[in-house]
Subunit: 200 residues, 4 copies
DNA sequence: GATGAATGAGTCTTCATTCAT
DNA sequence: CATGAATGAAGACTCATTCAT
């Protein structure tokens, strides 16, 4: 593949990508057929296979793009900040914001995560995300701001909580992402409990 | 359906259920064919349809059973305890333990959650789980032990974090569920941050 | 087959026959499954195959019985009459009456007539019916009462018209069989046209 | 459906239609499988579903086409004639001629008439036929040529007799359609009986 | 006589992919 | 670049029939 595409070609490719994202997110990857996609676009089957080697490649492409785009958003959010705790908070907020504006991609990534078959494709992106978060955690531990727990476990906890809240409150209940992020950050940083003098 | 089954019939049914759980978890729901299941069991195709109306019904049955079983485990874990915070912690530990001993079911439930098509079937179980957790949170707020944040959001946060840590550390890295639970509970209750005198 | 049956066995057999007639007539022969029949009767599959060798044999049995029964009704209707024209009229009336009280059988016979596969089974009954009618026609021609046209063709015309009117007016519109028979007989005997002096 | 078809596509579609008509007529609708059709045509199974949504849709298409074609033949036959009795006679002759040249379609229409399942599809065509015939009957009654019996019943009688004679003499015994039509028309118009002076 | 269980060939249909034009 | 057509393996499901108990 990796065809050189004309301007128009690139637009076509994008069209397919976008339509497929919508269908995959709504119906699921397997239940959505290539026929459905090209029909929805009003083009022949040939078009699809001109731009993508297979249905799977298309999906993988979507996944890669999504992970990349999210990461871009996260990096942009924290680039001017050095405090590790701030970075974690900003990362979470950026994730929430991105997730709010890309509900379909959020869903597709979640789905891919449950399928052994797409695990390999997800791995790299996931690891990057964990590494990013893990780094900040470690930095925070080093500066004494963050409790000395397993950094990787903490990184996963951050990611998992964020994703779950995004799915439920952003996509199911349409709560504003700022509000959800506020609670998530607050909970994550300070925990469930009311700080008691004796415990401190 | 709802056939009257003999002893032998009930065993067969269980066999199918168990084998299907394994295949669905490993290969995914859609990629696993009914043919594959009956072949793996060494029986004729008709057997499958003697016990289940369709592949989908079988899957729904699995889901229902899983949610029920998890809930049973959670209730058993907290029945002798009244302190809400303790209950939350015990519930998380029970979830981790259950998840550790039913990795396939954990995965299938996660998958179903990403598919619009199975949403309805999941809803009830999910809501029950959230309601259970939410109740404890509210109780904790009432007793002044838990911070006054949106109880439902907190409930989802607990669930999401637990599920994510279970998936990653229990199933991918085979860390003992007690260890994972310890960190999860600690993080959830007290947060990421080191309590500072000024903050308290 | 041809099993010796106990009293109870005969009742069972009848039950199956009657239920099958109803299902075949409503749904069609092919779309009705043996499972549907035994289920509707609340018995096991074994019962069916105890009384009938196959689904086809059952259907053939129904057909044979129906043709026999209709013929019996026709013979009874004309036994005291010798005039051939009278006999034709009475035969038609008997057919209408029988058809009115056995709508399902009427339908099944019609269906079997369109299927090459059941042609052989129908043939004998059909031929008997045609022979009966043909005989009366020939007698009528001999006595000078009936016009000298091809007797066999006339016989078929009588049968076809009767069957069509039975289906449409008896079964679809629920007109009384006496009324339909009156018109049919009158039309058949005297034709569509108003007799004109010049034509006679 | 309703695909845009190329010249070649239209030919394929016709091929399938024609082959299916032959198989359905010989073997029956249900016993004829889609596999049998595509195999007989030497094409892949997908071809069938490229042109038809389902086996049923194909059959319905055949039925519709047949009814339309017969009606066209009838209208063409009577277009230059105004006398209602003439029209009835010509309509019967046209039906016989059409039936003689489309024996398979005749059989399929007969079959469909016996199946509740296809009743809806047949209804419209049947009603049209009855309405056409009924109109001529009514006209004939108005002009005093036709006896004053229930017009609709007469219409059905005409249709039923014609169909039955067509099936038996055209298709089973291969009598020429002109001869059969002669007898049918004569019988229908003047009846079975020799006109007697006393009756007139 | 009767039941639940099992068989497995066969049914309709789908779908990713290829290809001639 | 793009289309309509074609492929055929594979999928879910059905069903007449048989059989152990």
């Amino acid at each position: 593949m990796t065809r050189r595409l004309t301007q128009r070609g690139q637009e076509r490719r994008r069209q397919i990508l976008d339509f497929a994202i919508a269908r995959f997110a709504e119906n699921g990857y397997h239940p959505t057929s290539v026929a459905e996609i090209v029909q929805g676009l009003g083009v022949g089957k040939g078009v699809f296979y001109w731009y993508f080697e297979s249905k799977e490649e298309l999906f993988l492409e979507i996944l890669k793009e999504a992970q990349l785009d999210l990461r871009r958003a996260q990096r942009a959010a924290i680039e001017d900040v050095t405090d590790p705790v701030e970075r974690i908070a900003l990362g979470m907020r950026a994730t929430m914001a991105w997730s709010a504006s890309h509900p379909e991609l959020h869903r597709l990534v979640q789905f891919a995560g449950t399928q052994e078959h797409f695990a390999a494709a997800m791995r790299k992106g996931q690891e990057t995300a964990v590494r990013d978060a893990g780094r900040h955690v470690r930095d925070g531990i080093a500066t004494g701001q963050i409790r000395d727990l397993d950094p990787e476990m903490l990184a996963h906890a951050i990611l998992g909580m964020t994703a779950q809240l995004a799915r439920e409150f952003l996509h199911e209940r349409h709560v504003s992402h700022e509000v959800v992020a506020d609670t998530a950050v607050s909970l994550l940083l300070d925990g469930l409990l009311v700080p008691s003098p004796t415990r401190a």
